[in-house]
C-alpha cells in the first residue's frame, strides 16, 4: 500500500478541456473518447439542463428580491460543471450536495417546487433524499463531505456483509460536492483522510468558483486545489468547469475507476459564479468588473450551444422548445412559491428524534411560552 501511495502524481495545473472557449472541439488523448459516441439526445439533454437551470436561477433570485424568499444561492455560471458531472453518474449514485447544486437536483428529477420549499422554509427538506439518491442541501458547509464518507463507508460494509439495501448497487459512487471555500474547513480534511484510509468509493467534486463569499481563491490556496488529493494519497484532476463535455468526460473517467475499486478521487472544476455568493452579499464590493467580464466570455452555455449548432445537432426549434420549457418552469415556480404553507414549528421539534427527548421538550415548551407572550395577542395596548 505504501508503494501505491508513492505513485500518486500531482494533478496537472492545466484543466482538462474538450471544448475551447471559441466553441471548437479540442482533442484529448484520454478524455475525448468519453464524449465521442454520445448520442444527439444526450448532447441536447446537457444543453437543456443548463438552460433550464439558468432560467430557474433567475426566477429564484427575483423571488428573493421580491420578498418571497429569505435567501437564494445563485448557481449561474456553474451549469456546465454541475450538469456534465451529474450526467456522467448513474441514478443510483448518491449525491451529497452543498446548497448550490440546483442543476444537479433538477437533473435528478427534483422539482423546482421541492427544491424551493427549503428556501421558502415551507419544508425542512423539500424532497425525499432516498427517492432521488440526492441528499438534502447542507447549509453548514463541509459537513456534507463527512456525510458522504460515512455513506460510502456504509455501502462498503453492506457490500462486504452482503446486506446491501434495496435499490443500492455494489459499485455505487458517492459524490461529495464542495466549493473552494469548504476546502479550508476541517471537515473536508477529516472526510478525505477517512475516505483514503478505507479506500471509500467517494468522488470529491470541488466547484472552484474562485470566491469563498468574499475571500479569493489565492488567499485560500497557493496551489491548485486538485493537488491536495495527492497529500491524502489519491488522484486529483483539474477540469474546465465551464466545459460541459470535459466535465462529463472527467467525471465518467473517475467514476469508472472508483467503481472498479480505486478508492476516492478528486475533481476540481475550475469555474466561476456569475452572481453573488448568496443574495445577501454584494459581489461588486470584492471583485472587479473586469474579472466578471473575463468569465462572461467563457460562458458555459454559449460555448456549448455554438458547438452544437456548428455540428448541426441543435436547431432553432429545439432552442425555442427549451426556452419555453424554462419559462414554464419559472412560472410554475413562482406560483408554487406563493402557495407554499409555512412549516409547522411544533412538527420540527417532534421530528428531531424518534422518541421523546427531554432537551427538545424543554425547547419546545420554551417556544410555546414565548409565542404566548406577545402583547398584541392579549389585547394589551402600547
Amino acid at each position: 500500500m505504501s508503494a501505491a501511495q508513492s505513485e500518486v502524481q500531482l494533478a496537472s495545473s492545466v484543466p482538462v478541456q474538450l471544448l475551447g472557449v471559441d466553441g471548437a472541439l479540442v482533442g484529448h488523448p484520454v478524455f475525448s473518447r468519453y464524449v465521442a459516441d454520445l448520442s444527439d439526445e444526450v448532447l441536447l439533454g446537457l444543453y437543456r439542463h443548463m438552460v433550464v437551470e439558468r432560467r430557474f436561477d433567475v426566477e429564484a433570485t427575483s423571488l428573493q428580491r421580491q420578498g418571497e424568499l429569505a435567501l437564494w444561492v445563485p448557481a449561474s455560471g456553474q451549469e456546465a460543471a454541475q450538469v456534465g458531472t451529474i450526467a456522467a453518474l448513474e441514478s443510483t449514485d448518491r449525491v451529497f450536495p452543498t446548497y448550490r447544486e440546483h442543476a444537479m437536483a433538477l437533473y435528478r428529477g427534483i422539482s423546482a417546487e421541492q427544491l424551493m420549499a427549503t428556501f421558502r422554509a415551507a419544508k425542512h427538506t423539500g424532497w425525499d433524499p432516498g427517492k432521488f439518491n440526492f441528499n438534502w442541501y447542507s447549509i453548514v458547509l463541509a459537513s456534507q463531505a463527512l456525510h458522504a464518507a460515512g455513506w460510502a463507508m456504509g455501502i462498503k460494509q453492506d457490500v462486504s456483509t452482503g446486506a446491501l439495501g434495496e435499490g443500492r448497487t455494489a459499485d455505487e459512487v458517492v459524490l461529495a460536492c464542495l466549493g473552494d471555500g469548504a476546502t479550508s474547513q476541517g471537515d473536508v480534511h477529516e472526510s478525505m483522510v477517512f475516505a483514503s484510509s478505507y479506500q471509500l468509493p467517494v468522488l470529491y467534486f470541488i466547484q472552484n468558483n474562485h470566491w469563498a463569499i468574499s475571500v479569493p481563491l489565492k488567499t485560500q490556496s497557493r496551489a491548485p486545489l486538485a493537488h491536495r488529493a495527492a497529500g491524502y494519497g489519491f488522484e486529483g484532476i483539474r477540469v474546465d468547469g465551464n466545459d460541459v463535455l470535459a466535465s462529463y468526460a472527467v467525471a465518467k473517467h473517475m467514476a469508472a475507476q472508483i467503481r472498479a475499486g480505486s478508492g476516492p478521487k478528486l475533481v476540481e472544476a475550475v469555474t466561476y459564479r456569475m452572481g453573488a455568493h448568496t443574495t445577501a452579499d454584494d459581489p461588486t464590493k470584492y471583485r472587479t468588473d473586469e474579472e466578471v467580464e473575463s468569465w462572461k466570455r467563457r460562458d458555459p452555455v454559449a460555448r456549448y450551444r455554438k458547438w452544437l449548432e456548428a455540428e448541426g445537432i441543435l436547431d432553432q426549434q429545439f432552442v425555442d422548445q427549451v426556452d419555453a420549457e424554462a419559462a414554464q418552469l419559472a412560472a410554475d415556480l413562482r406560483t408554487a412559491v406563493h402557495e407554499m404553507e409555512p412549516v409547522d414549528l411544533e412538527r420540527v421539534f417532534d421530528t428531531v428524534y424518534a422518541e421523546p427527548h427531554r432537551q427538545v421538550q424543554v425547547e419546545k415548551a420554551w417556544l410555546k411560552d414565548y409565542e404566548a407572550g406577545f402583547a398584541e395577542d392579549q389585547g394589551v395596548e402600547f
Binding site: 428580491r65 466570455r297 455554438k306 426556452d323 419559462a327 419559472a330
Partner: protein
Amino acid sequence: MSQTFNLPDVGEGLTEAEIVSWKVKPGDTVAVNDVICEIETAKSLVELPVPYTGVVQELVAQEGDTIEVGQPLIRIGSADDAAPEGDPGDAGDTSDTSAADTGAEAAGPVYGTVSGAAASPSSAAGQAAEPNSTTDTVSPQAEPAPRQEPAETQALVGSGPKADTPKARARTRATALDLVDVSDLGLEPVARSAPTADGGDLGPDVVRRASPPVRALAKRYGLSLSELLGTGDNGRITREDVEAQAEQKAKTPHDEVGAMPLSGSAVPSGGTPTPVQLGLLYDGPREERVQVRGVRKATALNVAASASTVPHVSVFKEVDITASMELRTALREDPRFAGLSVSPLLFAAKAIIWALRRNRQVNATWQETHYTLCNYVNLGIAAATPRGLVVPVIHDAQAYTTQGLAAAITALTTDAREGKTTPAQMQGGTVSITSIGSLGLDFGTPILPPGQAAIVMLGAVRTKPWVVDGQIVPRQIVTIGGSFDHRLIDGDLAGAFITDIATILEQPGLLLD
C-alpha cells in the same frame, strides 16, 4: 385595482433602504421581474425586480428617500384599468379567471398575470436595452442565445428581502428556560447583565430594539442605547431618536445629562422652575418629534431646492377687478357654467394665458446653458389640501374655452381636496398660480415650483375706496403679483406681465379678441 409592492427586508435583518434611482415612471408598463429601482442598504446596492405585471401608477417613495422595510414603494395598476383582475383584495368577489387558474386565494397576488408570456416583454426590453453587452460576452458568430434574459443573467446584485419583515413585537413578559424540571440536564440559568450606562454591555432587549445601522449611528455620536427612548413601532429605536438625543445632549451641560428629561412628563432634578409646573400650551408632551413624510417631505425638498438655487424676484400690483366680478355674476347665471367654479381664479387663469402670449420669456424653463420657451401653457394650480400643498397641472390650458377651463379647474381642485391627485397630474407645469385670497390674505411671496419661471399670486378680493374719475368710490380690489426666476425675468418683464394680467382683470372684454 392597484397592487402595492412594499420594500422587502433587503437581506438578513436589514430594516431600511435608500431609494437610489427609479428605473420606471408613472404610466410605464412593467412585467414581472422588470427592474424598477435601485436601492442601497447598509450592505449593498440592490436592483429590485417588480413582482407584478401592469402599469406603474405611483412611485410612493422618491429618489433619496430612506424608507423602512414594509413601507410602500410602488403601486402597479392592472394593464386594463377597468379590470380588477389580480387584485388580491378583490380576488374573492370577481368572476376571477385568474384566481381560478392558479388556485390563488386572497393571500396570493399576481399569479393571474404571471406566465411565460408575461415574462417575455421584460426580456425583450432587457435585450433592447443593452445589445452590446450581450454580444460582447460571447465569441463572434454565436448568438448570445440560450439566455432569454440578458439583463438578468448578469445577476441582480445585492441583498435579499422578505416583503413583510417580522418587526420586534412587544412582549408582556420574559420567557425563561425553566418551564420544566431540567435540573438533571445540567443547564445553567443564564444571567443577563443589565445594560450599563456607557452602553458597553447592552441587554438583549435593547439590542433587539435597535437595528445595527442605528446602533452604529449611536456609537458614532457616543451615545449609549440605554439612554435612548424608542419612538418607532413597538418602541423601536430609530435613526431620528439617535439624532434627537445627540442634538439634545449637545445643548445640555454635562452635569445635567443624566437627569435630562426624555419626554415632557419628566421633571428635571435641578432647582429651576420646570415647564411642567408652569403649564404647557396644550395637553401633550413638551416637545414632539414628527416624522417628515409624504407631501410635507416632497414640499420641503422642492421649496428648499427652489429657494436655494433660483434667485426669486417679486412684484405686486393692486387691481380694480370690479368688471371681472360683474362678468362673474353674469356667468354664474349662464346654464353652461352650472356646477362649475366661476371664481377670480378662473379670470386670473385666462388673464395669465393672455399675458403669456405677449410676454413669452415668462413661460420658460431655465437650464443653465440655455432656456426653453414653451409655446403652450401647462398651468399649475396650487391647492391647500388635507394632505398638504399639491399643485395639479392643467395641460395645454391655452387650448381651453373659458367654460372648459372652468370645468378643468373645478375638477382639479376637487380631486386635490379629496386627495386623488396623481403624481402624473402634477408633472410638467410651465407657470403656476396660487390663490391666497381664499385664505383671506392679500399678498405674499410664493416659491417657484421646480423648473418654472413664474408663479402668479392672487390675493383676496375686497371692496375698497378707489379713485375713479376723481371721485372716491367703492370698488372690488385685488392684489396680484408673484415670484419670478430673476435669471430669466427682470423686473421690467415681470412688471409688464403682471400689468397685462391686471389689464385683463380690469377689462375682461379684451379677451374677446
